[in-house]
Every structure is written in structure tokens, then in C-alpha cells.
């Protein structure tokens, strides 16, 4: 298969990689760019562990071809903290013990950040529906919802 050269922006920095036409964005992020925060859970868009944003829109990177992101702006979990300073969502997940094994956590953090950008004061029900595509087999979700609400309150300055 003829390889493609892709120029894109990842977490605000220009990034270039070479990929095959059938390669997913998830595989390119992990294997070409060394950004292993996004995980492959299912590879079929069911679990959300590979969540990233492309041009501001939350997507499963396993359902995007790497070739599609030419000229796009991608944001991943690696761009969430400001150097050593964790994002309020990241701190809240630690404070509320909203994770155990951690495989789903990067995707949930990216998805939750995307929710709070659109809706800074969601109800619990809205958080649950928004995160319905992010599966967690450890926590039972309750602590995740509390952590998102705690971070949302902090980010509103409450």
C-alpha cells in the first residue's frame, strides 16, 4: 500500500507522520507520534477509550482514518495538563478516586472536557448521557460523575 504523508496539528503543535491509507488515527497517534494516552479498547467505536477531538469535535480516533486529518487540529489527553499543572478534571478524578485500572480514564477526561466546554453546568443525567459512549468496567461510574461535577463547579469558580 502506498504510504501517505500527513501534516496536522496535535495539541497546538505542528505534527507530521507517514501512514498507510487504511490506518486509523488512533494507530497513527500511538505508533507514529508516540502519543499513547488514547487507548484501543474495542477498535469499533463502542468503548470511547480512544476519544480525542478533531477540529473541536469529540470523536473516537479508532473510527477516523489517519489520512483524513490532513490540515486538522487534534487534541488528545497529552495536551490536557498545563506542563506539570493538572487540569481541574484530572485533579478531581484523583481526588474522587474516579478510576481504578485507568484504561478508560484518558478518553473519559477528553470527553468530559468537551462536555464542560459546551455545557459548564450539566445535570448528572446530562453527564451520564454525554459519557454513555465511554465504558468503564471498574468504577460503576458514580465516582466519575461526582468527579466531573466537582471539576465543573471548580471551573465555574463556585
Amino acid at each position: 500500500m502506498k504510504k501517505l504523508h500527513i501534516s496536522t496539528t496535535v495539541n497546538g503543535d505542528p505534527a507530521e507522520f507517514v501512514c498507510t491509507p487504511d490506518e486509523s488515527l488512533l494507530d497513527a497517534l500511538r505508533n507514529r507520534l508516540g502519543l499513547t494516552g488514547a487507548k484501543e479498547g474495542c477498535g469499533t467505536g463502542d468503548c470511547g477509550a480512544c476519544s480525542v477531538t478533531v477540529n473541536g469535535r469529540l470523536v473516537c480516533s479508532c473510527l477516523v482514518l489517519a489520512a483524513e486529518v490532513e490540515g486538522a487540529e487534534i487534541a488528545t489527553i497529552e495536551g490536557m495538563a498545563d506542563q506539570d499543572k493538572l487540569h481541574p478534571l484530572q485533579r478531581a478524578f484523583i481526588d474522587h478516586a474516579a478510576l481504578q485500572c485507568g484504561v478508560c480514564t484518558p478518553g473519559i477526561l477528553v470527553a468530559a472536557k468537551s462536555l464542560l466546554a459546551k455545557n459548564p453546568e450539566p445535570t448528572d443525567e446530562e453527564v451520564r448521557y454525554w459519557l454513555a459512549g465511554n465504558l468503564c468496567r471498574c468504577t460503576g461510574y458514580d465516582k466519575i460523575i461526582r468527579a466531573v461535577q466537582s471539576a465543573a463547579a471548580e471551573m465555574r469558580g463556585a
Binding site: P21, T44, L58, C62, L63
Partner: protein
């Protein structure tokens, strides 16, 4: 496999028509990438149509809306004027998948994937929506109801693909609704579904209606007899009973682990009646 991000409609149609092997059109990719991953399809050529002019636009046309074929569910859901005019279309489309899937999934993809249970299709059929199709011989318009040919098959010819949908101008007192039955609260495939699009006259009676059912036949089905049963009524019990009966008569479902023939047939009628009520209230009617 080759990947082509087409820059013009003509380039895309020409490449699709010229390829002797297997081709796939990439729009939102939420079905195509899953099929690639599962090895269900090994395309020789994938043509990405998202970057074609107008593909991501929602604009006013002929008193209605023209919606580009690559508009994602999340994008349509953020268009207030469209959602106010076509709430049933918006709710059907947005029932598909998770937030992440909504960031990518498109109505054209849902329609051309040709599942009988496609959630965005019944409301398009009930709405009388017309797809614009591009191909090697130019453009043509085809009603959405005429596009699916059976599970996984469409009536589009080689090299053809959908570029947009035309939603006709709305009469005063018109609205629509879509309901489906699933055994859980979200992210599932319809066991049966119904869309109702109707208009209410000054007397509060239904003056025009269209009914479409999903997941109860090889394709989404339009049910004119069900529409006829509620036209001229205020959705009284007798009219709704006749509507449910007409819906049941139009059902030809499969029997599988997700629903029996009897269950799908019964619920299709129930859902149509409930959707009619919702559309009627949205249109300003008082039951």
C-alpha cells in the same frame, strides 16, 4: 487500498466509476471503519467526500433546508432553526450511537448503510425528503424512500453518491416525531420504530400526514393507509386504532433474538400512535 480526498464532485464520481475493484464512500466512517476493522470489506478505493463543496453545510433553499450529506449528528443538533422545523428528523438522527459517534455519523451514511433499523431514515421518509445524487452522468434527485433496496443494498448505481438532502418548506402547523423501541435507554439498535410527519389545519384536525416504520421490513416502509387513518381527525381513539391496524398490516419483520415478529408488529403500531401524539402537540394541536 487507495485513499482519495476528492476536491470536486466530478473527481469523486469519476474515480468511483473508473475503479474496477471494491469501492467505499467515506463520510462519517462510523460504519465503514468498523467494516474495515472486521475484515467484512476490503476496498480497493476509499473516496472521502467530506471536503467537497457544500457537504458540511445547512442552508435555506426553496423555503426549506438543504442539508449537506456529510453534516454530522452533532452539527445538525446545534442548528436551532432546523431542529425547530424538523424535530422528528433531529431526534431520530441523534439517537444513533454515542456523543463520539454523533461527532462523525451522517444521515447519508445511515441511509446508504441500508439497515432496515436505521434510526435517521423513517423521519426522512415521512418528511418527503429528497436526496441529491451525484454520479458519473451528472446529478439526479431521488426521494429517500426509493434509495434502500434491502438490507445492505441501495438503488444507487456505480459511482453514485448522495451530496445533500432537500427538506421541503414547512406549512404552518406542521411538525414531526420519531420513536423507537430498544430494551435499554440509549445506544442500541431499534427493535421497531415509527416516524410521523403531520400538518394541522385551522380546525385542529390533521390535514396532511405521512407515516414511516423502521425495523419491521427489509427496508424502511412508508404506510399511506396509516396516514389516511388520522387525516381529518384530532387523533381520537378510533382514528388511532385504525392507524395502529394499518401499521401492523404493513409489517413484514424478521424474528430474531432482539424481537419476535409478533412483538415488532405490535410495537410498530403503538409507537406510530405515540409519535402521532407527539407530532400533533409539537404542531400546536391540543388533544
Amino acid at each position: 487500498m487507495r485513499y482519495l480526498a476528492a476536491q470536486s464532485v466530478a473527481e469523486a464520481a469519476k474515480a468511483l466509476a473508473a475503479e474496477a475493484g471494491v469501492t467505499r464512500i467515506l463520510s462519517g466512517g462510523t460504519d465503514v471503519l468498523v467494516q474495515l476493522k472486521a475484515g467484512m470489506v476490503e476496498p480497493d478505493l476509499i473516496v472521502d467526500v467530506k471536503k467537497l463543496p457544500g457537504m458540511r453545510e445547512i442552508r435555506a433553499e426553496a423555503g426549506g433546508f438543504r442539508v449537506g450529506a456529510a453534516v454530522a449528528g452533532a452539527e445538525l443538533g446545534e442548528h436551532k432553526a432546523f431542529c425547530a422545523a424538523w424535530p422528528g428528523v433531529a431526534e431520530g438522527f441523534q439517537l444513533i450511537g454515542s456523543t463520539q459517534v454523533q461527532g462523525r455519523a451522517t444521515m447519508a451514511g445511515n441511509l446508504c448503510n441500508a439497515s432496515p433499523a436505521a434510526d435517521s431514515v423513517p423521519a426522512l421518509v415521512a418528511g418527503g425528503v429528497v436526496a441529491r445524487i451525484a454520479g458519473p452522468d451528472g446529478e439526479r434527485d431521488l426521494a429517500v424512500v426509493d434509495i434502500p433496496a434491502g438490507p445492505g443494498r441501495t438503488n444507487l448505481k456505480k459511482g453514485e453518491f448522495i451530496t445533500s438532502f432537500l427538506f421541503p418548506a414547512r406549512a404552518k402547523g406542521a411538525s414531526d416525531a420519531y420513536l423507537r423501541f430498544i430494551p435499554r435507554t440509549e445506544m442500541d439498535i431499534a427493535v421497531s420504530s415509527a416516524a410521523v410527519n403531520l400538518t394541522i389545519g385551522a380546525d385542529g384536525k390533521v390535514s396532511a400526514a405521512e407515516v414511516a416504520l423502521g425495523a419491521v421490513a427489509p427496508t424502511v416502509v412508508r404506510v399511506p393507509e396509516a396516514a389516511k387513518a388520522i387525516i381529518g381527525t384530532k387523533l381520537d381513539d378510533a382514528a388511532l386504532a385504525a392507524m395502529a391496524k394499518a401499521c401492523e398490516a404493513a409489517c413484514n419483520p424478521i424474528d430474531d433474538k432482539r424481537g419476535t415478529i409478533a412483538f415488532r408488529t405490535h410495537t410498530a403500531g403503538v409507537l406510530a400512535c405515540r409519535a402521532a401524539h407527539i407530532a400533533y402537540e409539537r404542531a400546536g394541536g391540543k388533544a
